[in-house]
Every structure is written in structure tokens, then in C-alpha cells.
């Protein structure tokens, strides 16, 4: 008798979802990443067994990873931002102008981050106040911000080689620990901060609820418009930060800054397992996704494959990972 009760209790005990169900997506991402890496280790073993290529990843990937990570939050709410490369440029232009005008580095930083945040907030305001799909409106604001920046700078760049900037540049993009670029550590810091924001704050909880079912969220008192505006503002802030990092890395502010980063960032988010439909996503996934994208870029060249094939690889990896998402989420439902 006692035995059957014990068995029954065991069977009735609430069981957690299986390991595979909870972490399947994460495994998929890491699997793709490790798979890609192994391919490159075999096809380009000379390059991929030396540390130089990893140091190269650590300096170049953060430029778009720093934007892919906050973009994850926007995608989880079910929106998208296509204007962040322009925000990056406009914010960095504000830094260059403020610095050349006042000679104050910190004021320049503050202005750049403020301009970035405001651009993001403006996107969020347009999306929520007029209920315009973000896919469309951020194409518009992308042109607008880029246009303002180009007109303001009159299309010319600014050197960032001033001696007073050296110490700041060193903190942002210097080399430390075996020559690893500091922007790599910054990317980790941003990942940790946004992980905390997403998983351990009320705002983060509301990001998931907004993207999952906005009517339910509103019925339970979630201000979905405020949530969306904030995610866009966060995006703008980090786009400005990424702009400063990218410009200090090359000691020059190019007015075309940000061009070519849009697709890398978006691909990182989706490759990282964030759902195209909203409601699901992780910043750690995006972090890994960004480095996979970075590795494809470098790996193709190092393997001696014609660089035109980069896009073929990109395409395949993204298509496979999105299919994987669909298959895994179907499994979860059963």
C-alpha cells in the first residue's frame, strides 16, 4: 500500500519541462556555432589554429554585436528597428561636433548618448503614437537621421587622433589580456546588463508579455506602448555607444558609419534564437549569433573560398536556424 502511494506521489509530482524543451533552442545555436567553427578549423586549419583570427573577431564583431544585443529586446516585443546604423552615425557626429566645439570629451560623450537615446525614443514614439509598423517607419527615420548627419557634417569625416582622446580611446578600444580588444569586454558587459534588464526587471518581464500577446498584456495592466518606447530608446543609446566604439577603433569618424552593419545585426538576433513572431528570445543567444556571423565573414576568406560565397553561407546559416526555430517551437507545443 505504502509503496503504491509513493509511486503515485511521484507520478503526480509537478515535473519541470524537459531539459530539451527548455534549452533546445540554446543547444541549436551553440551547435550551429561549434559546427561552423569545426568546418573552418578543418578547411582553414592554419588560420583557425592561430590566435590572430580570434583577436580579429574580438575587435570587429563587437561593432555590430553591441547593436544586435539591444535589438533583441525590440524584436521580442514584436517590432524591428532598421534605423540604428543611421542613429550610430548621427550620435557620433554629435560627439565630433561637440568635442571640436568645446574640447570637452565627457560633454561630447553625454551629447552623443543623449542624441542616440532621443533618436531611439523618437522611433518608439512614432511607432506607438501613430501605430505605424516599425518595419516601415524606421526605414523613413533611417533616411532622416542619415540625411541630417550628412548635411550637418557636409559629408566629410573627422579625425579622432587628438592626444586628449588617447586615454578614452584606450578604455574603449585599447588592447588588454593577450591583446584582446577592449570592445570585446564591453560587449560582454552590455550582454550582462541587458540580460539582467530582460530577465530580472519588471520592464524586462513586460517586454516578453508585450511581444507574446499585447491584448492580454494590456488587459493585465501592462503599458505596452511605454515598453516599446523604452526598448527603442535603449536601442538608440547603444547604437550611439557602438558608433563611438567603431569610430575610436579606426581613429576616424566616417560620415558613412554604420553602413553594412544592418544585416549583420539583424541576422545575429534571428540566428540567436529570438522569435520572428515576438515573445521569445535571449541576449546570450544573440551574443553567440553575432560571433557566428563574425566567424563566417572571417572564415570564408581564411579558407581561401571566394569571398562572394560569404553571402551564400550567411543565407544558408540563417535559413537553417530559422527553420530550426520553427521546428523546435512546434515540438514544444506538442
Amino acid at each position: 500500500m505504502a509503496k503504491t502511494e509513493e509511486v503515485k506521489a511521484k507520478n503526480n509530482a509537478a515535473r519541470p519541462p524537459s531539459f530539451w524543451r527548455r534549452f533546445g533552442m540554446q543547444f541549436g545555436i551553440w551547435g550551429v556555432g561549434i559546427g561552423m567553427w569545426l568546418i573552418f578549423v578543418f578547411t582553414a586549419s592554419e588560420a583557425f589554429t592561430s590566435k590572430d583570427i580570434y583577436l580579429a573577431f574580438a575587435s570587429s564583431t563587437p561593432i555590430f554585436a553591441l547593436m544586435a544585443i539591444p535589438l533583441t529586446l525590440i524584436v521580442i516585443t514584436g517590432e524591428i528597428d532598421l534605423s540604428f546604423p543611421s542613429v550610430m552615425a548621427l550620435a557620433t557626429a554629435s560627439f565630433a561636433k561637440t568635442y571640436s566645439g568645446t574640447g570637452n570629451i565627457w560633454l561630447g560623450f553625454a551629447v552623443a548618448l543623449f542624441v542616440g537615446t532621443m533618436c531611439g525614443y523618437f522611433n518608439g514614439w512614432l511607432v506607438t503614437y501613430f501605430a505605424i509598423p516599425s518595419l516601415v517607419i524606421t526605414i523613413g527615420t533611417g533616411f532622416l537621421f542619415r540625411g541630417i548627419e550628412l548635411a550637418w557634417m557636409n559629408g566629410s569625416g573627422v579625425g579622432l587622433t587628438d592626444e586628449k582622446l588617447a586615454s578614452v580611446a584606450n578604455v574603449l578600444v585599447g588592447r588588454s589580456f593577450f591583446g584582446i580588444a577592449n570592445q570585446f569586454w564591453w560587449t560582454i558587459v552590455v550582454t550582462i546588463i541587458l540580460w539582467f534588464v530582460l530577465n530580472r526587471t519588471k520592464f524586462g518581464a513586460h517586454v516578453f508579455l508585450t511581444g507574446d500577446n499585447k491584448i492580454s498584456a494590456q488587459l493585465m495592466g501592462v503599458d505596452i506602448n511605454k515598453v516599446k518606447r523604452r526598448t527603442f530608446a535603449i536601442m538608440g543609446f547603444f547604437a550611439a555607444f557602438a558608433g563611438l566604439v567603431a569610430s575610436f577603433e579606426v581613429s576616424y569618424f566616417w560620415p558613412t558609419l554604420g553602413e553594412g552593419l544592418l544585416m549583420n545585426s539583424i541576422a545575429s538576433v534571428f540566428l540567436g534564437g529570438t522569435s520572428v513572431f515576438g515573445g521569445i528570445g535571449t541576449v546570450t543567444g544573440t551574443f553567440v549569433g553575432a560571433f557566428i556571423i563574425g566567424a563566417i565573414n572571417a572564415g570564408i576568406v581564411a579558407s581561401g573560398i571566394n569571398a562572394f560565397f560569404t553571402q551564400v553561407f550567411f543565407g544558408l546559416v540563417i535559413i537553417i536556424s530559422v527553420i530550426m526555430q520553427a521546428v523546435i517551437s512546434k515540438r514544444i507545443k506538442r
Partner: protein
Amino acid sequence: MAGQAPVIQLKNVSKTFGEVRSLSGVDLEIYPGEIVGLLGDNGAGKSTLVKTIMGFHKPDEGGEIWFKGEKITEWSVEKARALGIETIYQERALCELQPIWRNMFMGREIRNKFGKLDVAKMKSEATRLMSEHMGFTSTAVHPDNSVLTMSGGEKQGVAITRALYFEAELVILDEPTVGLSLSETKKTLEFIQNIKKSGRSAIFIDHNIFHIYPAVDRMIVLDRGKVAGNYKKSEITMDELIESMYRVARTGSLKE
């Protein structure tokens, strides 16, 4: 019950969506410890009324909402819930991709004194509530499971438990028995009796008069956005109620 301020009182509340007037000049009050049945045909404005009480819809100019004898301005869902009004919606208002614990504390997440979410506590509270109040022991209700994996009754269980957790002064149940099995329906009706026993109030909306009549103290009949009738249970038998409901549906008026 005279002398005691109503938990919630609507004065001359109207709600217009574009050209469509869903509610017109609704006056209604719910007293402490009272269970009120809200009856009405499809399109009578029941759900709009509920969503207006909850702050999801803003009433048209001129309408007033009073809570415990105080006029409330700037009414919102957040405020309504903070004051102690919880609703179990017909559409359940769940975010199905999210785990149970997130749904349970949706909009009112537990935080520690630094403002950090207390995820461990939310999970353990969710587990405790699900087993204590809803008697769930099946494997489907681990707090980390997504709501998507649950049956209709279990989903409703999450919605009911959620309303229960926050010890609401007023619980609104918008067709809570739709799609439930017999035993789940019974459980829901028992839940309504428990609200009354603990001295709190409820508004109970259902299509089924046989569910409503035994459970409530008073019945309000809504028709085309207006209050068409207001009966204490002692004033009307079930047959008379059914009869007058037919009359309202046909003529829009309770009197012949």
C-alpha cells in the same frame, strides 16, 4: 447594505467606439460582500462594461467611476488592480508562450526592495497556489511550463488563481465557464461562493441563467448598452427572470 459605500459605482457611464455606442448612461453599483449577476444578449455591452470598470476602455466624457465612495480620475488597468479589482476574462488574458509563473504575476510582478524581480519566489508561489487552490497535481503545471501546453480548464485555472492571489476586493468573472468541463465548472462556481464567504464582491457574467441564478444575490440585465433591469434575487423567481429576459430581447423593454 445601505450606508455602506459601494465597492465600485458607475455613474452615467457611456462608451462610444466611432459611430457605435456600446454603453449609454449606465448606472451601477456593487456593494461589499455582494455577488451580482450580469445578464444580457450578445452585443448587449457586457464585455465593454467589464473592460470599462477595469480601466481598459476609458468612459466617454461625463461618465464617472467611484471606488469606495471616492471619485477616481485617471482610471487605468494598473490602478484598478492596485485598488483591488481583478478580472477573469472570457479570453483568459494569458500570454501563452510564457511560463505559468510569468502569467500568474503578469503586470504585478514580485520584486525585492531593490526593484529586482524575485523569480524564485514567483515560481514557488505559483506552484503553491496551483496545488492549494486549484488542486492541480498533474505534470502539466510546473511553474516553468509554458501555458501553451495546458488544457482549457488548466488555463482557466491559471486565470482564476491569478485573481485569487491578489486578494481582490472585487472579482469580475466574464463568462468563466465557457469551454470548461462539468467538474471544472463546478469548481468555478464554488470559487464564486468562496468570494462571498470571505466578504468580498463579485460580478458574474454568464450566458447560462442556471449558473447565474443560484450563485448571485442580485441580477442586472443589460440590453443594447443600457441597464434594462435590476432585481434582488428575493424579488424574482428564475422563471420570471427567464420570461423577462425573453421580453427584453424581443421588445427592448421589461414592461409590457
